[in-house]
Amino acid sequence: MTANAAVDAVGLVKNFGPLRAVDGIDLQVRQGEIFGVLGPNGAGKTTALRMLATLLPIDAGQARVFGVDVAREPHRIRQLVGITGQYASVDEDLTATENLWMFGRLQGLRSADARAAAKRLLAQIGLEEAASKPISQFSGGMRRRLDLAASLITRPPLIFLDEPTTGLDPRTRGQMWDTIRELVNDGCTVLLTTQYLDEADQLAGRIVVIDRGRKVAEGTPEELKASVGNSTLQLRLAPGADQETARQVVRRVAGTDPVLTPESGRMNVPLDTADRAADVLIGFREAGVGIASVTVAQPTLDEVFFAITGHGADDEAGEQQEAPAVLEVK
């Protein structure tokens, strides 16, 4: 183990015209960890990743990968980093095997080695049967897995995954997570971006939250979730129920302020455990506050954002994130 961090970036800046997409982000990724970059669409996650992968010039700041300077020695960085983007970057006109063989050859593998690596990887990602089919017949999930395999062909020590599961169905998503965990078992370091709090929670040892090009929080998933509670009680008050009374009940029973959502009569209450929901509901009955509906859910990215930045993630990410309700009362 060297002293060099897998990624050591200080004050990264990227401007697109007047828009500052990345506004002075610091990242320290240790060797062998899965590091999550969490944020909504347009927060600057992809831009930051593309700068570190030499796909975009760095406007200001400094970045090193295993001690190698990204801006000064891009060719060496490209030998150390595999990147898998949001959109599968494989060749539509070639078969899965041909794709992997080509990428292996382009990186200096001998023909036989490239073929062996292609075979091994296709087995690893469960695409053996589709090995000689053209990619145009692949489903979205198959393409994403092939794309990941294409990044792994020369076993780079650092893998960038840009929203690896966005748009995948839950089963494919689980498979992707397994593959990512396996990578780390092999000694790989993984830097992944995601819009999903539960994905970061499932995979990452450490997380940074970025918003509008700036880092707004950093820590373990536990620390992050502790800031918003482990679950959320989502309430809609009955018409005519007194919001002020409800607020006082929540403060007394749960010990925190409820978060009012834009819809009138709705409020979210962060809870340490889902069990506390019952206490809050009993409190409401005793105080005579009527309730139209109740849901207990995991905290959403929206709530994390609200807790950290004071504003929502202002896109659909929060809704997609909605975890299955534990309890629903009419």
Binding site: T2, L55, R76, S89, D91, G126, P134
Partner: protein, 286 residues
């Protein structure tokens, strides 16, 4: 559908798991590509382009239909007017049509590169430690096949309608080889346009601006002496005129004239200017 294979349950016969050694990986990295790497990567990109051609045979429409159609059309329409009859027009016309089809093929090189560059796979090419010229030069190497078809078919069509090249098979072969070289050199202009333009359609439009003056303001279809003096001045410096004159000398007389030298020189000059410009244009897309 198989499930993901965890490390512990890897099937017998698969390679044993090797844990990545970061220090060794860093030590193995090289600061830049060698010449052998660049050549190898270019050939792999050519392999890719050939695979694509085989799977999309409609890409060959231009190089097969145009020589057949244009040779017959121009011969019968202009033959009588320019040379008195079709037969005596053919030695003048065929090398001209070769130049025109080869140039049109060059344009397709630029348009296809532009289309290709918009695809996701180019993102990966950019992220790989590969020479920046390989994705440009690779398809151009594969395109040599297209120039060969275009030039060869034009001569075949000419022979069918009565052309008897005085230079014999060797002269014709020399003419074809020279056309392929010139086509390849000219293709760098269109590759450069391909890296600069915003869309494939724009490449097509911009290429037309080069294509028409280069082919029609030359000696390709008419004797230069019939043109006004100011136009003759341009025609004489147009590299296409040199190429057409050189291929005429080769195919019709079997002589290697000074025009061959001028054509080669013009070709090398085009490569020297437009190959670096193309790589610059491609880098800017990063």
């Amino acid at each position: 559908m198989s499930t993901m294979i965890a490390g512990a349950t890897a099937p017998a016969g698969s390679a044993p798991r090797r844990v990545i050694d970061v220090d060794a990986a860093v030590a193995r990295t090289r600061p830049r590509n060698g010449l052998a790497d660049t050549l190898g990567q270019t050939l792999i990109m050519a392999w890719r382009a050939l695979k694509k051609m085989r799977r999309n045979p409609e890409q060959f429409f231009d190089v097969t239909l145009q020589p057949l159609l244009f040779t017959a059309m121009f011969a019968y329409i202009f033959g009588g007017a320019i040379s008195g009859n079709v037969h005596s027009y053919l030695p003048l016309l065929i090398p001209g049509i070769v130049a025109q089809t080869v140039l049109t093929t060059c344009m397709a090189t630029g348009v296809q590169l532009r289309e290709d560059m918009d695809k996701g796979v180019f993102d990966r090419f950019k992220a790989l430690p590969m020479a920046r010229i390989a994705p440009l030069a690779g398809p151009m190497v594969a395109d040599l096949v297209r120039y060969l078809i275009a030039a060869g078919l034009t001569f075949v069509m000419g022979v069918i309608i009565g052309y008897r090249p005085g230079g014999g098979p060797l002269g014709v072969l020399g003419a074809i080889v020279l056309s392929i070289f010139t086509g390849w050199a000219m293709a760098w202009i269109f590759t450069w346009i391909g890296t600069m333009a915003r869309s494939a359609r724009a490449v097509q439009g911009m290429s037309m601006l080069f294509l028409f003056p280069l082919t029609f303001l030359s000696n390709a279809f008419v004797p230069v002496t019939t043109l006004p003096g100011w136009l003759q001045a341009f025609v004489k410096v147009n590299p296409i005129s040199h190429m057409v004159a050189a291929t005429r000398d080769l195919a019709n007389q079997g002589t290697v004239s000074g025009e061959v030298g001028w054509t080669l020189l013009a070709g090398l000059a085009l490569i020297a200017v437009f190959a670096p410009l193309s790589v610059l244009g491609y880098r800017r897309h990063l």
